[in-house]
């Protein structure tokens, strides 16, 4: 059982012991207890494949001592082991150089609320039987097994998780949070002619067992695999690009990640010195909404204990805010905003018709181009914004899918990409921390034959 302070009494006492011990050594500190449980059952070709149980707990210990800083962790929570570990940690911290910015946050920034329910924990999790979990995994596999002559291999998996976190620091901040999660996945390999086996994967997740939508998971994986048969390279050129919701966050990541205060301070972000400037198209707005009920990324406070709040970090293409935590606020002499986004949403401004909701609508809206349904490697240069990614997906024309594509790259710069942003669906995956819907861009460099 893993629910609330009463059920984690021993580990919480450890965290309090560590804080007291460090106080006696003259140090300020933040102690974070992370405790979790994972149950896994997987099926391969209709037979059980793996059964796994995991229980973890560890203390993360951040020491702030005379403007010196150290970050430590241990999963050995016996008192004599802890004392030895803490003595070494205090000594190690004393040896590094001073850094004036290394102190706990200003107390006025702490979350001091009542921690009202964000709808992230399903207390029925401990009542779900092992047999029920197996049934679900078998059912997903059966949605693929025997359903196609092309099937080479079918795998399915059920996982459930409980994550508990407790934070206490030497300025009096103390809070805890618990979250459950349930996920299922289906993976298959299908083969028609030739040597190539096309892999496909589908995943569903929820915070509450009753919301776990597994009925189509295997079917989705199988259909998406078969759709990949007979791919062809398209001639290199500039095309419209539609990116499906299941991989659209890959396009948002270079923008959101580059607003990190750490990268800005280190002059390693292409968005450094962009505050208040219009960088992207006026239809690009990103808002972080950390208090949305029932969302995986929602939270009232960050890992420093600082209260979270709504933040329109990009509005109509203008960079409004960086993600600044306490440390980088001192380094950059800027106000604390948030250490990182919690539940960022893309709001598409003008340009998107009200009738566009799904990726299929976007394909029709853009008329011709390439629909990206997955990425194969690639990266971006955080300092310049240049990117190049391998893609998989489909060539479309007249609003209709024509054929799958293979061995193609997209290449360009993140700034020009988001200035070519044209439209978005209304279909972010409900379980995703980043609420990014299917996206459409125009004039994108595709490299093929």
């Amino acid at each position: 059982m893993l629910y609330g302070i009463d059920n984690n009494r021993n580990e919480i006492e450890c965290a309090r012991f560590v804080l007291d011990y460090l106080k006696r050594k003259g140090a300020q500190a933040r102690i974070t207890l992370n405790k979790g449980r994972i149950n896994t059952f997987s099926v391969l070709n209709g037979k059980q494949d793996k059964l796994q149980m995991s229980n973890d707990r560890a203390l993360n210990i951040q020491i702030y001592s005379r403007n010196r800083y150290g970050a430590f962790s241990t999963n050995r929570l016996e008192k004599n082991e802890l004392e030895k570990f803490l003595d070494n940690a205090v000594y190690a911290t004393s040896l590094v150089e001073e850094d004036d910015a290394r102190t706990l946050p200003e107390e006025k920034l702490y979350y001091r609320g009542e921690n009202p329910d964000l709808g992230q924990f399903d207390s029925s999790i401990t009542a779900i039987t092992a047999e029920r979990k197996k049934e679900i995994a078998y059912e997903i596999c059966s949605q693929m097994e025997g359903k196609s002559k092309y099937l080479v291999s079918a795998e399915s998996e059920y996982n459930d998780y409980i994550d508990y976190q407790y934070i206490i620091d030497s300025q009096g901040f103390e809070a805890d949070v618990i979250q459950s999660a349930f996920d299922v996945s289906a993976q298959c390999s299908v083969k028609e002619n030739g040597d190539a086996r096309y892999e496909s994967y589908w995943f569903e997740s929820s915070l509450h067992f009753k919301d776990l939508d597994y009925k189509e998971c295997g079917k989705q994986a199988l259909e998406r695999g078969i759709e990949k048969f007979n791919p062809a390279k398209v001639k290199s050129g500039k095309y419209n690009m539609v990116v499906e919701n299941c991989c659209a966050s890959r396009m948002a990541a270079p923008v959101i990640n580059s607003l990190s205060g750490a990268l800005v301070q280190q002059r390693s972000s292409f968005l450094a010195e962009s505050l208040g400037k219009k960088v992207f198209g006026k239809n690009v707005t990103f808002i972080d909404r950390p208090h949305r009920y029932g969302m995986a990324g929602s939270r009232y406070f960050d890992s420093d204990g600082v209260a979270t709040k709504d933040l329109a970090f990009i509005e109509n293409g203008v960079i409004n805010n960086y993600f600044i935590d306490s440390y980088y606020s001192r380094k950059l002499k800027m106000d604390v905003t948030a250490e990182s986004p919690s539940v960022p949403e893309l709001i598409c401004g003008e340009g998107t018709g009200t009738d566009i909701a799904s990726v299929r609508d976007l394909v029709r809206f853009m008329n011709s181009g390439i629909l990206v349904t997955g990425f194969n490697g690639g990266n971006y240069n955080g300092v310049t914004g240049d990117f190049s990614y391998g893609i998989e997906g489909f060539f479309f024309k007249g609003g209709e899918i024509i054929h799958p594509v293979r061995e193609m790259n997209i290449t360009g710069n993140v700034v020009s990409l988001w200035n070519n942003f044209t439209a978005a669906g209304k279909d972010p995956l409900k379980w995703a921390k980043w609420q990014i819907p299917s996206l459409a861009f125009e004039n994108i460099n595709f490299n093929g034959k």
Binding site: G70, N75, L95, D195, S268, G377, D386
Partner: protein
């Protein structure tokens, strides 16, 4: 068994035999128990100051039961007999025959391999010794190029103490060091910025950290950064690609290595599943996965299921010679395991993973290879790669390189993804250089869990790959 390591985990041989017996109670055919105590120390520099220290302990035991090709697994971070017995009973549930196997009467201690040469033990050296080296690295980077505005650097060292025992009565203990030095810098020129980084990693003692390593690393980083000011993304499309010696081994890791991992072969999901013994590339090509390179990041005395570290020819004279096996796949194919059963930690069950994957040298000079290309690219610095095992399509990201025009290196290039198909690309390697280099960067492979690996390659010519770029 080294008694001091057994003592660290508070267990005796009798305890281990009892746990394995419990694990086999439900009819399991094989069981093993893997204890790990890992200490990771970190020291990092930012803004010209060594201003962050860290230390992390990870401790626990994983118990695995195998029945046929099915696996039960549980782990515990508490090594009391009560907790470990609970884990053993959970893992045992994978089987359901109630036919319990007897353990051999004698245990067999496995020892002899020693691929991690250590002259100066890590436990004897701390922050006081490492801090001046980081400061030296920072100073060297600034000294080498005045355009450097920011430097980030870190030294991470870890020491993993492993104790292993299985239902065959085999036992070993291992002490695995892993040291990484990493640095990156931001350079600025006329309002433009570039960033470059490099790293070195070894399974060795403190003696590996010296002034010459810091000097070499600093020079490498600054050269990379300076190069980028002149580089640009090239025109993309299909073209010949010359892969420079060293880190081009990422091509082997992605295009060949993953697709040779025998769990994918056993499930028939790899494009190479039915190619054993067949000619898959030029007869001059030999590809190896090797645990025996001394001090290498991919070296292993014993893998994580008790098989001695060894050198495995995946491709010999162009013929597919061996897959990368763990115990489960080896049994499936009636062959010996190749020592590739690896895991990130006690939290994970072992699966087939690479170690140091490289191609042996051929006969061509690099100059001849470059001279043979009329229009293409030369790539010699990479950051990451990926593969689709079944379709065979792989990619790797090129941080920098050159255009090749009329047999000469010309315009510096950067930031492009290259995509190809594994079997096709192997066939299209038409020239192999005489200059194999093992790359000692901090390569880490992800396959649901992380493992330290390395790679190497002589200069090779691939006749055609799809190169990212402008159109």
């Amino acid at each position: 068994m080294r008694e001091n390591i057994a003592h660290l985990f508070g267990v005796t041989t009798e305890n281990l035999r009892r746990l394995i017996s419990i694990a086999l109670e439900e009819g399991g055919e094989y069981a093993d128990i893997f204890f790990e105590h890992t200490v990771i120390n970190e020291l990092s520099l930012r803004d010209d100051h060594v201003n962050k220290a860290g230390s992390h302990i990870d401790y626990g035991v994983g118990i695995r039961v195998v029945k046929g090709e099915e696996t039960g697994y549980a782990y515990s971070e508490i090594t009391t007999m009560a907790e470990m017995e609970k884990a053993a009973r959970y893992a045992a549930k994978i089987a359901a025959s109630k036919k319990s196997l007897a353990l051999p009467l004698e245990n067999r201690l496995m020892e002899g391999n020693d691929f991690y040469p250590i002259k100066k033990g890590w436990e004897e050296f701390g922050i006081r010794e490492k801090l001046p080296l980081l400061e030296l690295l920072n100073a060297k980077i600034h000294e080498n190029d005045g355009r450097t505005s920011k430097v980030r650097a870190a030294i991470n060292d870890s020491l993993s103490k492993i104790l292993f025992y299985n239902s065959l009565g085999e036992t070993y203990s291992d002490i695995r060091p892993l040291i990484s030095v990493m640095a990156s810098c931001t350079m600025e020129q006329n309002g433009r910025r570039e960033s470059a980084g490099a790293s070195r990693s070894f399974r060795a003692g403190f003696e590996i950290l010296d002034e010459s390593l810091m000097t070499e690393l600093a020079l490498s980083i600054v050269r990379k950064g300076a190069f980028l000011f002149d580089a640009k993304q090239p025109s993309g499309g299909e073209m010949p690609v010359v892969m420079g010696a060293g880190s081009s081994g990422i091509l082997l890791h992605e295009a060949v290595g993953h697709a040779f991992e025998a769990d994918f072969i056993r499930k028939k999901t790899s494009i190479f599943s039915d190619k054993m013994g067949r000619k898959i590339c030029d007869g001059n090509i030999n590809i190896v996965d090797d645990a025996t390179l001394p001090a290498n990041r991919g070296a292993l005395n014993y893998d994580d299921e008790g098989v001695p570290g060894q050198k495995t020819y995946l491709v010999r004279e162009g013929i597919l010679n061996s897959f990368l096996h763990d115990r489960i796949s080896a049994k499936h194919y009636g062959t010996a395991p190749t020592g590739n059963g690896r895991r990130e930690s006690f939290r994970f069950m072992p699966i087939p993973r690479m170690r140091a994957t490289y191609m042996e040298s051929g006969n061509c000079t690099e100059e001849d290879i470059i001279r043979s290309v009329k229009h293409g690219i030369y790539a010699n610095d990479f950051s990451n790669g990926q593969v689709q095992i079944g379709a065979g399509d792989f990619t790797f990201y090129v941080k920098s390189g050159y255009l090749i025009e009329n047999g000469r290196l010309t315009q510096p290039i950067k930031d492009i993804n290259i995509i190809g198909n594994g079997p096709q690309t192997l066939k299209e390697i038409t020239m192999v250089g005489n200059n194999n280099i093992i790359d000692n960067s901090t390569w880490t492979c992800g396959k649901g869990q992380y493992c330290s690996v390395s790679c190497g390659m002589p200069t090779v010519l691939v006749k055609s790959l799809t190169v990212g770029g402008s159109v």
